[in-house]
């Protein structure tokens, strides 16, 4: 344990150097050695891995190494992508190892985004075919090598569980690796893929996860990276967003034993020391005067009251169908205003990043989520070339969106600090307080929803007006998300309403605030699902109808939401299971990231206190590559959304963030965790996302359950009974 876990490229051992030489031609493999378990098992010196394609290496020792182009942050992407490769390769699951691919956009782009990046619940969806093809082409090369070796037709050779065989001939992948890697690689489209009926790994419940070492402390996160001569840095940031250093005095800090350097960077003052504690102590001794002339000095209450005024006015039209205005002016109408606070991601591992800068060259080690954009931003900052920025990706201690920052905030901060550290590697560490107060929150929003209903209580018109900050405008994602002044990330979930309403209009006000905002697990759906699903329940109540039946009657043309909602209702025994006195039950269904999730929630209420007792979820996410991980993601998505429903809230007073740590930014704990049951709808469709879609339905389902129990319709998060 005491050996340095990470070695910079200047310190590689001989075996590793050989390995690097072998794989240098392809550029892959540079991350080997980053992960202890991999390093131990790959035995690079005696058993160099042979490159089959950008995603697959096979070693003579029979290890199949899969390069994972997405960040493993708990969502199970190591296991999921490796399953797709191993399925078509016909590998034995036990011989498969994973490691993060290097940052190389050409080879490892997210096929939905055109850049190397993890997000939008796309990991499996964009890689499903690509990974299967990677496995199938490698398999074809193994078969070709065996055919050559045995002098038999390739078509007669079979492969199973990592063994290639023909009649009395048999060879392991490892035995064939050298000859197979020398074969011509077929074009990915040229290989045929399995019929889903023949899957042996995809769909399995019992595959051991490949992100190993999380039960014994050996899994390596950014926080654990140790490099020879490394310093730890903390940065004093402006207490207000947009504040600047006016002047500072570092003399006391520099007197503290162990503090090595103090200097100003663009967004604060960096303190570098031999360890984290010393750096923190040094930072406490800094005297800094801040220039707040460009800072946000409003309170969140002021910001939200401005939003409440805005939603009374027409905004930019995001969607228009039929004629809403005339309908709203005649018949019976319903109206509600919803309010959503800023939210911090509060992932367990506060942001951090290890960087070593040498002129225009940089080498970084961290849980890298926005790979291409981080790499470009670093190269631009240093005035160097993309190829001069080397990124080693390690596990992330959660992310929920935070690690892919549109401005590479924490990454560039680390590079700026490392640039001042005279070539020494630097581990930038944010304290929990730094992390909580650094912004890039889920934006605060206000929605005003209005509907006109006919004499059956069915909606004839639906209008939504939203006010909040756009996440994508001004970022390099703008062109993907913003059309004619409308950021899809603001309105997704309310446009293209699944419910059949003939006249619809969605409008948005893009507000300006100095509070930086960012995607937060399920992005716009974090708020749109809430207003939509609470509002539809209000309409059902007004119509005197059962909320599930009411939804189903509006979903007749939508077989997918219908099937998912029916499955959840059946499993939860909606309408037939009797609830104890004082309990309520609520439902919500929502489609995001290509997947549909319905959740049915039971709450118990005592006075103004309540507890979420049980959640039954149903999900349609296409082919279930790994049902166990899908369930885990839905469970986790529910817990994350429930945390926001019950407690999470960032507030500002005169521009200062009020929350600092988990004592005043309350998150879900075990005693609040309900029983959760997840049911997966069988499907033959291409896989869609599961990391995020579990989150949106839970808060509205809880609100609807509370309404059923108490008659109070709650329209503000977090939920508070009165």
């Amino acid at each position: 344990m005491k050996a340095s876990r990470f070695q910079s490229q200047d310190h590689i051992d001989t075996g590793r150097r050989q390995f690097l030489k072998l794989s240098a031609a392809t550029g892959a493999g540079l991350t080997l050695g980053l992960n202890l378990t991999t390093r131990a098992s790959a035995q690079a010196a005696d058993s160099p891995a042979l490159q089959f394609n950008a995603f697959v290496n096979i070693s003579p020792d029979n290890t199949v190494n899969v390069y994972i182009k997405h960040l493993e942050m708990g969502q199970g992407v190591y296991t999921g992508l490796a399953t797709c490769v191993a399925e078509e390769l016909d590998a034995a699951w036990s011989q498969v190892k994973c490691e993060h691919a290097p940052v190389d956009t050409e080879k490892y782009a997210n096929l939905f985004m055109g850049q190397q990046a993890t997000g939008g619940s796309t990991a499996i969806a964009n890689s499903f075919t690509q990974m299967r093809q990677a496995g199938a082409t490698a398999r074809a090369m193994l078969v070709a090598a065996a055919a050559q070796r045995w002098g038999v037709p390739a078509s007669e050779i079979s492969v199973s569980e990592g063994q290639v065989s023909h009649g009395s001939h048999q060879a392991s992948f490892g035995e064939l690796a050298v000859e197979a890697a020398a074969q011509n690689a077929p074009a990915p489209e040229a290989v045929s893929l399995k019929d889903p009926a023949d899957f042996t790994l995809i769909g399995r419940e019992d595959l051991v996860r490949k992100d190993e070492g999380k039960q014994n402390g050996t899994a390596v996160y950014t926080q654990d990276v140790q490099l020879p001569g490394m310093l730890t840095a903390v940065v004093a940031h402006s207490p207000r967003f947009g504040g600047r250093v006016k002047s500072f005095d570092a003399s006391k800090a520099l007197q503290r034993n162990g503090v090595e350097q103090v200097f100003e960077i663009e967004n604060g003052v960096a303190v570098l020391a031999k360890d984290y504690w010393t750096a923190i102590k040094g930072r406490e001794l800094l005297e800094i005067e801040w220039d707040d002339s460009a800072a946000e000095t409003r309170s969140s209450g002021t910001i939200l009251s401005q939003y409440r005024e805005l939603v009374d006015e027409p905004g930019i039209v995001a969607e228009r169908e039929g004629d809403v205005a005339s309908q709203l002016n005649q018949g019976d109408s319903v109206e509600a205003v919803f309010e959503f606070p800023y939210l911090a991601h509060a992932q367990m591992e506060p942001m951090n990043c290890v960087a070593k800068v040498d002129g225009q060259r940089a080498e970084l080690w961290y849980g890298c989520q926005g790979a291409t954009s981080d790499q470009m931003a670093i190269a631009q900052l240093l005035g160097g070339k993309i190829e001069d920025v080397k990124i080693h990706t390690v596990f992330a201690g959660g992310g929920f969106g935070r690690r892919a920052n549109p401005f590479s905030d924490y990454v560039l901060e680390a590079v700026r600090v490392a640039r001042g550290a005279q070539g020494k590697p630097v581990k930038l560490v944010w304290s929990r307080e730094d992390d909580m107060q650094a912004g890039f929150y889920r934006p605060a929003f206000v929605h005003k929803l209005s509907a006109a209903v006919d004499d059956q209580g069915m909606p004839t018109a639906f209008q939504a007006r939203l006010a909040g900050q756009s996440i994508m405008m001004g970022t390099n994602m703008e062109s993907m998300s913003v059309v004619d002044g409308v950021d899809n990330a603001s309105v997704e979930g309310l446009v293209h309403l699944p419910y059949q309403v003939p006249n619809r209009q969605v409008e948005v006000h893009n507000t300006q605030a100095g509070v930086p905002v960012q995607w937060w697990r399920s992005v716009g759906n974090t708020h749109t699902a809430f207003s939509k699903e609470v509002f539809i329940d209000s309409l059902a109540r007004k119509a005197g109808q059962d909320p599930v039946e009411y939804r189903l009657s509006l979903l007749k043309h939508n077989p997918r939401e219908t099937a998912v909602l029916k499955l959840a209702a059946e499993k939860a025994e909606w309408g037939s299971r009797k609830l104890p006195e004082g309990w309520g039950r609520g439902v919500a269904v929502h489609t995001s990231f290509g997947s549909t999730v319905a959740e049915i929630v039971d709450v118990s209420v005592q006075g103004t206190e309540f507890k979420v007792e049980r959640v039954v979820a149903a999900v349609d996410c296409g082919i279930a590559v790994n049902p166990n991980i899908i369930r885990a993601q839905i469970e986790g998505g529910i817990a994350y959304g429930l945390s926001a429903a019950l407690a999470d809230e960032v507030t500002l007073t005169d521009g200062n963030v009020d929350q600092t740590n988990f004592h005043n930014y309350r998150v879900l704990r075990m005693n609040d965790m309900p029983e959760v049951e997840v049911h997966i709808l069988p499907s033959g469709n291409a896989p869609s996302g599961v990391g995020e879609p579990g989150t949106p339905p839970v808060a509205p389902a809880v609100a609807n359950a509370l309404a059923a129990a108490t008659g109070q319709t709650l329209t503000r998060l977090p939920l508070r009974l009165t």
Binding site: K2, D211, Y221, W277, A346
Partner: protein, 158 residues
């Protein structure tokens, strides 16, 4: 100042300020990085180690206060309860990101060492100081029960 820390049965000399929390001494100076930093103020449990058999938040326990006591980190977890928990964690696929899990297992170990058959309420009480933002709480609870059964079965057999 020089301190001697007894970690996982091994004695370590180190020269740090006595007010340094044990977590940072262990992580930054002794390179046992299995214990994690999550909050620094005894709110999240990520830094949990056993001190003389008690689950302890080491982000607020100073090196000076830890000297002379028996410190166990996730790396040195050897009790039957600890090992059964680690096995259950893999079997039930408890960890997602995994960052909280060293702390979860250390807290759960202390629980099972003191209470071989914890009820749901006992588990909630013992574990509510450990935050998991990935929301693995249900599986943690199942894992503790599975491990408790395994330890009892084993003792029954022995």
């Amino acid at each position: 100042m020089a301190y001697t820390l007894l970690i996982n049965g091994e004695s370590h000399e180190l020269d740090v300020d006595g007010d340094m929390p044990l977590l940072w001494a262990v992580r930054d100076h002794l390179n046992y990085t299995g214990s994690k930093f999550g909050c620094g103020m005894a709110q999240c449990g990520a830094c949990t180690m056993q001190i003389d058999g008690q689950a302890t938040r080491t982000c607020v326990l100073t090196v000076a206060a830890a000297e002379g006591r028996n410190i166990t980190t996730i790396e040195g977890l050897q009790s039957p309860q600890g090992q059964a928990l680690q096995k259950a964690w893999v079997e039930l696929q408890v960890p997602q990101c995994g960052y909280c899990q060293s702390g979860q297992i250390m807290s759960a170990t202390a629980l099972l060492e003191q209470n071989p058959s914890p009820s749901d309420a006992d588990i909630d009480t013992a574990m509510s100081g450990n935050i998991c933002r990935c929301g693995t709480y249900s599986r943690i609870k199942q894992g503790i029960k599975l491990a408790a059964n395994a330890v009892r079965d084993n003792e029954g057999a022995a």
